[in-house]
């Protein structure tokens, strides 16, 4: 069965870098962004997600590398 896009399902139009609880779901235990293949997010939101994660990392809300 084809996985549906998380952000479409939850009616989230813009991914905000401050929503770290949501962003954390798409990071692996090392803090790396999980690929689209695994997340099942649409291309549009995967791009937004990547930008948001990188912004959150810059502001110290998410780690660059998690041990």
């Amino acid at each position: 069965m084809k996985k549906q896009c998380y952000f479409n399902q939850h009616n989230i139009k813009y991914i905000d870098y401050k929503d770290t609880d949501v962003l954390k779901r798409f990071l692996n235990p090392h803090g790396r962004i999980i690929s689209r293949k695994r997340t099942g997010i649409s291309a549009k939101y995967q791009r937004q997600l990547a930008t948001a994660v990188k912004r959150a990392r810059f502001m110290g809300l998410l780690p660059y590398v998690a041990s």
């Binding site: 996985k3 905000d16 870098y17 949501v22 999980i34 810059f58 502001m59 110290g60 809300l61």
Partner: protein, 176 residues
């Protein structure tokens, strides 16, 4: 981009980290100073969140005038969303960056409507929907175990379709 040419109003958001050296009771003064920078440039503040102290995900370093580094393991994180003429944003950004108690800033051009989920995000994150569970199990297992993952993911997705519908309905109600 077109805004720069037209000189139209654009919506911006500045996220900032205040140095933990600032005492808790003086935070409001610092915020007032930052708000003054923005309103002084002719901006209208749309939304904001007062800085709250939090642990940073990694230790930040900032070079001091003497050449040594200051290390920060925690800081106050706050943000301001405002509307301003595109031509004036550069000045605002510079004054934020030169403020000694501001550790780091992040300027974004954004949209007027609310993008921050806040508490709603916690609810959404707490809901372990089928698809999310699949992400977690997949992330934790090796690539070689893909077949097993698919088997695990399928029943979980089927079971939580109703839950998902319900949560979406609730969200729609909240919005209305």
């Amino acid at each position: 981009m077109d805004d720069t040419i037209n000189g139209d109003m654009s919506v911006y958001e500045i996220g900032y980290l205040l140095s933990p050296a600032v005492p808790e009771e003086k935070i409001s003064d610092e915020v007032d100073a930052l708000r003054k920078i923005i309103t002084g440039a002719g901006a209208a503040i749309i939304a904001d969140e007062l800085p709250h102290r939090q642990k940073l995900a990694y230790v930040m370093r900032r070079k001091t005038v003497s050449g040594s580094y200051e290390k920060y393991a925690d800081a106050y994180f706050g943000w301001l969303k405002f509307e301003l003429e595109a031509g004036k944003i550069e000045g605002v950004k510079k004054s934020f960056e030169t403020n000694p108690s501001v550790l780091r800033t992040l300027l974004l051009s954004t949209v007027r409507e609310n993008t921050y989920l806040g508490k709603r995000a916690m609810q959404i994150a707490a809901e372990l929907t089928g698809s999310d569970r699949a992400i977690e199990t997949k992330a934790e297992t090796d690539q070689g175990d893909n077949k097993r993952d698919k088997k695990e993911a399928a029943p979980a997705t089927a079971a939580s379709v109703e839950d998902m519908d319900r949560s979406i309905d609730e969200m729609v109600k909240e919005v209305i």
